[in-house]
Symmetry: C2
Subunit: 345 residues, 2 copies
Amino acid sequence: MKEDKLPTIKEIAKQLNVSVSTVSRALHNHPSIGLRTKMRVQQLAQQLDYEPNQAAIFFKQRKTSTIGVVLPNLKEEFFSEAINGIEEIATKHKYNVLISQSRDDTERERMIVATMKNNRVDGLIVSLGANTTTYDHFTALKKYGIPVVFFDRVPSLPDFNKVYSNMNSGTREAIEFLIAKGHRRIGVLNGPEQMRSSQERTDTYMQVLVKRRLKIDLGLVTSTDLTREGTLKAMGHLLSQRPKPTAILAINDYIALDAMQYARQQKLRINKDICFVSYANLSITTYLQTPPMASVEQYPYRQGSEAAEILMELLSKTDHDGLPPEPETFRNVVINGQLVIHSKR
Amino acid sequence: MKEDKLPTIKEIAKQLNVSVSTVSRALHNHPSIGLRTKMRVQQLAQQLDYEPNQAAIFFKQRKTSTIGVVLPNLKEEFFSEAINGIEEIATKHKYNVLISQSRDDTERERMIVATMKNNRVDGLIVSLGANTTTYDHFTALKKYGIPVVFFDRVPSLPDFNKVYSNMNSGTREAIEFLIAKGHRRIGVLNGPEQMRSSQERTDTYMQVLVKRRLKIDLGLVTSTDLTREGTLKAMGHLLSQRPKPTAILAINDYIALDAMQYARQQKLRINKDICFVSYANLSITTYLQTPPMASVEQYPYRQGSEAAEILMELLSKTDHDGLPPEPETFRNVVINGQLVIHSKR
DNA sequence: TGGCGATACGCAAACGGTTGCGGGAAAACA
DNA sequence: TGTTTTCCCGCAACCGTTTGCGTATCGCCA
């Protein structure tokens, strides 16, 4: 009972005195198999609890029905929510999902991509590590026909498939919101400069200020490396500006939380002496007594599911390889972030 | 350049005019291959960027070097932290990790286990869905020699490998802590009754009260199905008791957060009119202005890594199958939870 | 009765790598 | 120089499934 080897197609063939090919076809409802034998095969298969050996199939078909997901970390609700979207679509298309965390370490990221390649994942969905600035480990995959779709943290190069939330509209809304509340000195707590989103955020910030004819003070634009220490240091810088900023736009809710904590330590009253607006709109903020005044919702689930959808499409194309070498077109889906207001004050 | 098929061992063999077996052995540093050819092979392999086709190896070796992880959801920091522990150990042993979420849905859980079996994962690490009361989908795996290790939410049956944090010591500490603070009416916001931990928690609660000669009021012991609605309802019940409880022991931090929000709506002041103590000690609580007074740390990372370690051990045994049918012994690792005090008051 | 087209099934190769076994050639010994 | 040993390497089977192609059987019509 213990060493009950899994039943194979051969087993069935032997017991029924037919060939393996007949069994295989019978199980696939191939038209050239007689109804009688088809029934017999299917019945015995059921009875033996036969399940095809996926490993063998993967090997034979040269595809694993597995997609890899590489992202900075699962701890952030944004990413775990995105995973849900990915999983949803993937399972619908009968794909497995291999997840791995880069922890914002480019070296790890390279390793992960390499092992995923060796494991022959059919495709990849990636959100870049914060410090990743080179993409050769991804371009290398093209040679092997492994499609890659980026989401959220996407490379700034054009020749990649991407799904992301553009910062422009959300940021514009956010700044306008703050201005309408009377704020004139608005600080920006940005991410690392190599991140596409950071640049967009800064750009939009400038644009709005210019449009509203407000003074631009570059001392009010800082960046954090996303570590807690980096955030505190950046906050120290912001709060040392004179006059102090009365509002701060933070790259995401986690960073905003660190920043708020710092501000509180400096005896500033949140949403009174200083207001926060951030991105992501995580559920944890609803538990705070003083949440950020507003968040730009980034729709992680949608980003994940759209990325997965695109990947599925790409995979279905490379399936029947034989088509003319298409002129390589890249998908570029932009999801507009939207401001969600938490606190009226 | 596009349809650059991945180089195979055959390719190398052909180019070097040796047999595939020689190449295979050369790459594995087999002693029976001459130094000269070994060098030539390895060099060419490097030059061609040869990487063995894992799918083929999996198939041949009848093991996939992949372990499956099934847990309720990744959103809870407890689980994503546990994943980190699992990943750490797994990659150290060159295993891949396939993650899937049951979302506390037993049916989904069954499905996942089934597909993981078909995908021939070598072993499984599982944290049960909240409503799972039958374990036949896991016992079925034994027949096929697929080891399973449970963690955190473990079945109450003895014949499984488990790693979990026992509630006794942590709960005792927690209740004693509250009693020392002067609380006499302590409510319990427990999980579903079928969860092992819920029972342990209630038992210990009773024991301590008895020992301290405090009155036991069963109206103060409730349970939630872990949904937000369930929690609010349970809280409604607790707060309708007379006299009101002055402290509440909640099954985990998320539930505590929901509960605290409810209490606040009832115009109760947290940590003043009513105190909370919970389990897990998540990092998000550090951002709260009024966190639970204390949390019982559950060491998710350790639970994950220990579970993975055990699984690795089990896998290394079944590797060289041929040993006498051992008398099936099950590992049972208990990690003592420890009370962490957040708020002095 | 010979020929023809379906119908239903078997043969065998292929996917890429591993491994037991056997054997040829060179080296060492008598 | 003949024999034995040692060192290298090739042959071939195997893992489970899919699939192109060949073929036996049968019915049917001329």
